[in-house]
Symmetry: C2
Subunit: 434 residues, 2 copies
């Protein structure tokens, strides 16, 4: 047997509920695949590169299931505002100035930031998304990039033109980069769409087979407006218009009734929890323990950096592991193991990367090695708890995506960090006159 990479003697977090921590062991990678997982070294194997991971924890790469990567351009710009105030008064005026170069520079920095904090895949929604897709291909990160009928004023020349524009994007990027990329259908939200465009989107999703990527039940006022307009909740009108008949990743899902959660469960929607953003914009706390109790698979995302204000999934895991205990006064509300499932396997599900998100033979080799020897992690009494409660993105040492090492010893291998930083600052100085 031949292996390209053999990770030796790591503490292995598998990503599988009930068997989350596997103790110390070895992980072999051949091409883009995990070809060996075991407690002992594989026998009779020719190995191209060995990684001594004795002081590392190996775990599935983190899956950021909701973000808007170019929004790093507006990081920390507007604080202490509600969603509407933040979006319409601060963010959109800047967004109106964005060029394709800004989007490209923002995407590059966001991807570099995500890799440096252990994210190996992300689900993205923004404008000029081909810039983001190209940046992902260049970096070698897994990504699912969404484009919708209303994105970038695609509907200016009518529905058929918008569909053609989307189809062209999908055919170019869906499966590109040896399967690194997927595409999906953005349906921004019930409040920016109307019944007609929701139905058009549902039909288009069915026709193209795309996953629908939507903001859903983010704020109380969004829900109230939907009841006013449709006599039902946002997720109710989504079901009504057929939008939930294929795979759906629904970001936020904060304001849900029990009935709304039953729709999520029945239609196998994957809700994406964005706790930092929901607090930052005072949207509220998503009922994650309640969803988990119903057997719903909840994924995790950072949202865009402008409402977070970073893209560190370790920070997001930490927060997701804590806030529900505080809200429900139940310390078992969301366990560390739940959080890792959310950040890995359930994210993979949300994005349609089913062969990622867990460590087992036959899966794609999306693996991160996390330094377990930082003072803040000594002693390492419980690797699963440590990943959620005391680890930060800065502890990530090595990132492997699709079998390719994209970061080693915290050095990016596929991207020029200095150039990315320089370009981003240049774009920011244009946008903010600084």
């Amino acid at each position: 047997m031949k292996m390209d990479i053999l990770i030796e003697n790591a503490r292995i977090i598998t990503g599988f509920a009930g068997a989350m921590y596997a103790g110390r062991g070895f992980i072999g990678i051949t091409g883009d695949e995990i070809t060996y997982v075991g407690e002992t070294a594989p026998e009779k194997t020719e190995v191209r590169k060995r990684i001594d991971a004795g002081r590392m924890i190996a775990m599935p790469g983190l899956m950021n299931a909701h973000t808007h990567s170019p929004m790093v351009l507006m990081r920390n710009y507007a604080a202490d505002r509600t969603l509407d105030d933040w979006l319409y008064k601060s963010i959109i005026p800047i967004e109106n100035k964005l060029t394709r170069e800004h989007i490209r520079n923002g995407s590059m920095l966001a991807i570099a930031e995500m890799i440096k904090s252990g994210t190996t895949a992300f689900l993205d929604m923004y404008f000029d998304v081909d810039c983001t897709a190209e940046a992902a291909l260049e970096a070698g990160i897994r990504a699912n990039v969404s484009l919708g009928l209303l994105t970038s004023h695609n509907m200016n020349n009518g529905l058929e033109d918008a569909k053609a524009f989307c189809r062209k994007f999908y055919s170019r990027y869906h499966g590109a980069g040896n399967g690194l990329l997927r595409t999906s259908l953005e349906v921004h939200s019930v409040y920016l769409y109307n019944e007609g465009t929701l139905r058009d989107s549902a039909e288009f999703a069915a026709e193209t087979g795309m996953t629908v990527n939507i903001h859903l039940h983010e704020t109380k006022s969004e829900v109230e407006r939907a009841y006013g307009e449709y006599g039902m909740s946002p997720i109710g009108i989504c079901r009504e218009t057929g939008l939930l008949d294929g795979p759906v990743a629904a970001a936020h899902t904060v304001w849900l009734t029990d009935q709304d959660m039953d729709i999520i469960k029945e239609k196998k929607v994957v809700p994406v929890h964005n706790p930092s953003s929901n607090m930052y914009l005072a949207s509220g706390f998503a009922p994650v323990p309640e969803m988990l109790a119903k057997g719903i698979r909840v994924a995790l995302g950072t949202d865009g950096a402008a409402s977070n204000n970073d893209l560190d999934m370790f920070g997001e895991m930490h927060i997701a592991g804590l806030i529900h205990k505080g809200r429900t006064l139940d310390p078992t509300a969301v366990s560390a193991e739940n959080v890792i499932e959310m950040a890995c396997a359930n994210g993979a599900q949300a994005m349609g990367f089913g062969a990622s998100g867990t460590i087992r033979t036959g899966n794609k080799a999306d693996i991160i090695l996390v330094d377990a020897d930082g003072l803040h992690n000594v002693p390492m009494l419980n690797p699963v708890n440590a990943m959620v409660y005391s680890t930060s993105g800065a502890d990530v040492d090595t990132v492997i995506i699709n079998g390719r090492t994209v970061m080693e010893n915290r050095r990016l291998m596929t991207m020029d960090e200095e150039k990315i930083r320089y370009n981003l600052k240049k774009s920011a100085s244009e946008l903010f006159n600084i």
Copy 2:
């Protein structure tokens, strides 16, 4: 004029509400004091060491106003449990095995971890606290270490013996290390004390002038028990017994009525917010916005690592900046500026280090330099927001305490990190048979 250190061209966060960010400037240090703060370089000055801080943010060192440093030994040991379950079933059985060597090794690692994440002072409560005081002196970190009449079974030989034991500790360490150390009176909690020992403690605090360091209103059941026993809330019985007549740092303060908050305000108690621990142990959310609205100065702490599970005050600031927006649905509930005041100036107030916590001429030189150029902080549109919402302890580059550089370029100058890690692991292996 002569200066030992001149920090050049840093972005300066002052720590003062209303003038929190001062733009780029220069900070001069002579001996243990800040002797210059200005937009331009000081003229006619002989400088021993210049620090080019062009890519740094200079801010007051963080003040961890509630922790139990040796509890790093039990980091991530017990997760997903209530305070009672966690304390009595997991923590105390291990604590019963602790030796002075364990306490010393735990204190050393905790202090190293705190310095590495930008903390320059901490308020500590535990057993064998002279080990912690000695560790703080060795490291050169500012600390206020508490010892109480009931600590370490001091009362075994009666009240006078316990008082003598405490007095000896206070006289040895209060003001030691050129004012680096202070001591205070631990009164663990209303639930572990009774009316007699509360009164004894109040008298002893008045006699010695020590600040009282107490856990107060942490859980709902603590409050209910006090009503059952005393017919009043825990803070009510504290006032009744005279315990609030001098300076008091009160950790947690989660379950407070409006009347309880009025007592805090009236008696100038400094409540110490521990959001991670309060969520981790499912105690709840402290009413911080409500306290701020009353003009109460709230400080911030990590609590011990066993209920956090790290000692990173940047993580704590991040969480403190977010959760109250989520709970109140008001994005202005606790602002980034509020959080920095809590973590710096108000912490200094809680510990009795009034000349720390802000950057101005005449204050003690407790200053940290934070790398502002991490990808997760680019672009740096707002340093105050960035420190709260997108910075982690790993971004701290340089730490100066009392004019002495204790970390430079992330290298500890006064402590041997490898030895500390080795010793801590040795202690943990003894305690947990690993």
